[in-house]
Amino acid sequence: MKTVLGFIDEAFRQIPETDKSYKFKMQLVSEVTERANELTHRGIKDEKVIEDLIISEHPDIKGEFESVLREEKRAKRRRHLVALNILGTVVFCLAVLVAFFIHLFKVDNGLSWIILIAGAFALSAYYTFIGCRRFIKKRGIIFHITTRLQLAFTIMLAFALAFFIMLFKFNIIHSWLMFPAGAIAVLACDGLFAHFSHQRFAVFMYLAYIPLAAAILYVILAIAGIVTWQTGWLIIPVALIIDAVIIAVRLLIGKKENEEVEEDSVWNAD
């Protein structure tokens, strides 16, 4: 083991002596001793081979140490962030509750509960943002179902909030249309999420969502009296035309990529 220990000593000459580096060195010495015993137990009798094998498993001790330090920092930051989030959530909930009770007892116009919904919306939006930021770069087929559900829930909360404000503050008759409008927003956001997270099958989502959203939009606009029931349905064929355009564009892009593949192969041919 002399060679391995000498190798470790040599490597630690490049590392400043600190408590952490000393602890890491001791841990490494213990690890390599254990590894040497393991290799002997596995049947390697030649000590030189054991030493060379162990050294080959630690080609960059300085790098290992730096990565341990980095990981420690990252873990610490993660712990702080989790603690901060928990604390922030508790403080925020308390603040919302205080605001709710103050409004309830001081103003008492029957709209105090809107503060609770707004608080829930803000909290949900914050955690959706964290979830989206974390997962958006990952690829998958059934992708990030929790984040997507969270996103849909947040959007519906926002529209519910808008509904209550419109109904109780401004007394708009068709306020309930905010719910189908929320459904359109959910579809749109889900499609955008698929697009920005580069989902392979995002295009199929657009193709399904566009006619669905158009049908809901038709109902909303017709009920709100913006379009008539007789002519408004034209929105649906328009959506289908948009679908057809998307398909055509995708096919064109695919064809162009195939042509590029041909050109590449000519270029790469021996």
Binding site: E38, L39, H41, R42, G43, I44, K45, D46, K48, V49, D52, L53, S56, G140, I141, I142, E257, N258, E260, V261, D264, S265, N268
Partner: protein, 434 residues
């Protein structure tokens, strides 16, 4: 804490093949001297340390399977026996025909037989860990490391390590080719409506695993090459034509019916450099189809050449279906994806694997080249068959590993007789010229 390794796509696929074969790859090498057993064990132990999948146990987790690295002792991997010359064949067959369960702790086993101052090395390994192509590379690297260790005292650590992912096949393609290849969702499984099979008997309790072999003499090898060159055919095409023709003769298929034989292709042909990849499987199938038996074997050869050329022209040869398999395994839990993939995947009834040349200079130990040897694929369960072909010093060995009865063994030997006869027909002109 247990150490886990990811089960790659081909690990899972070969595990799925448990219904069709025993997943073992076999090799046998003969040396005319007594090798250094301690050195052999040291080199192999170092390789096991560098590639821990060989001492891992496969866990068939229903959601996502994985390998668990296990402890081992090299004496459990390498068995050494001193035997009499007459016991040699029996010992070799008994060893090569065994099956290592993937759930076991070891995925490779070696038998070293010392007899009359000579050594025979037999190795079996789980196909889930690596295919024939990589096994050949593993053996060559082993011999190089052994020689460097024994002759120069260099520690045997020069084994390539790295990713075992199927995605390595795309790494050396151009960006656009890689993107196109990763969208090849077409399922190219054999869908032969005639479903021609090798004429085995029905399975019975008396079936056992055996490896039938036939040697084609070294004089014929250059003749096959020469005759093939004249007709624009490769050695592989010549063998495949003989395979087709012999099958029609042996099984009595209707001569006007088409037949398909799946030929194994090494996907490493798409990779310029494999030095940064680990030992793994990178094999796919090429469907070689003849529309009819042909009036004579030369017409069959023409059909084979046409069929294989059509495949060779496709730059994505062998890459079809990989994204579909990957998708299948990604979107569903393993237990469900296995069932779904089984529906879409049809295992070839008739297959061939040309493992190629076993280079004696690269398999030499301490300057002693192997005097004889061969390599073969897994023991197939009826009605599936795989004809393996390897050559050493120009002597070709055809082998078929089957789980069958004595009668099946006779059928395979009759098939080899026909193969020999048909190869002779193909090289008749060259033989006359000699």
């Amino acid at each position: 804490m247990e150490r886990r390794l990811k089960a790659e796509l081909w690990d899972k696929m070969h595990y799925l093949f448990r219904d069709y074969n025993d997943r073992m790859v076999h090799v046998e090498l003969h040396y005319d001297y007594e090798i250094n057993i301690d050195a052999f064990k040291t080199v192999l132990a170092c390789f096991f340390e560098k590639a821990p999948v060989f001492h891992s146990s496969f866990t068939d987790n229903h959601i996502s399977p994985y390998w668990v690295v296990k402890d081992y002792n090299i004496d459990d991997v390498v068995e050494v026996n001193d035997i009499e010359e007459e016991d040699l064949d029996h010992k070799i067959n008994a060893f090569l025909c065994q099956c290592l369960p993937p759930e076991g702790d070891l995925q490779m086993k070696v038998l070293i037989l010392r007899h009359s101052g000579k050594t025979t090395v037999c190795i079996i390994e789980n196909h889930m860990c690596m295919d024939g192509g990589d096994f050949k590379s593993f053996l060559k690297t082993f011999c190089k490391n052994y020689n460097d260790y024994v002759l120069n005292g260099v520690s045997p650590l020069d084994l390539r390590t790295g990713s075992r992912s199927y995605k390595s096949v795309y790494k050396d393609l151009s960006k656009t080719d890689s993107k196109a290849a990763q969208n090849l969702y077409k399922n190219l499984s054999v869908k032969d409506k005639y479903a021609h099979k090798f004429p085995f008997r029905e399975s019975s309790d008396e079936d056992y695993s055996f490896i039938a072999r036939r040697r084609i003499s070294a004089e014929k090898f250059p003749m096959i090459k020469q005759a093939g060159k004249k007709r624009g055919a490769t050695i592989n095409d010549m063998l495949t034509a003989a395979y087709f023709y012999s099958l029609y003769e042996l099984a009595g298929f209707n001569p006007s019916e088409p037949t398909t034989i799946s030929c194994a292709i090494d996907l490493r042909r798409h990779m310029k450099d494999v030095s940064d990849t680990g030992y793994t499987n990178q094999t796919s199938w090429m469907q070689c189809r003849v529309p009819e038996k042909g009036r004579d074997i030369f017409e069959t050869l023409q059909y084979v050449v046409r069929s294989s050329n059509m495949f060779k022209q496709d730059k994505f040869m062998g890459l079809y279906g990989l994204p579909l398999l990957s998708l299948g395994y990604r979107i569903m839990p393993h237990a469900a994806s296995e069932e779904i993939i089984k529906i879409g995947y049809s295992n070839p009834l008739l297959a061939m694997s040309n493992i190629g040349i076993l280079e004696v200079d690269k398999l030499a130990l301490e300057g002693h080249e192997p005097t004889d040897g061969f390599m073969s694929g897994a023991v197939k369960y009826k009605p599936f068959v795989l004809l393996s072909a390897t050559s050493m010093r120009n002597e070709m060995t055809l082998s078929m590993c089957v789980r069958g009865s004595d009668e099946d063994k006779q059928t395979v030997n009759r098939f080899f007789d026909l193969m020999e006869k048909n190869i002779d027909l193909l090289i008749a002109d060259e033989m006359k010229a000699e």
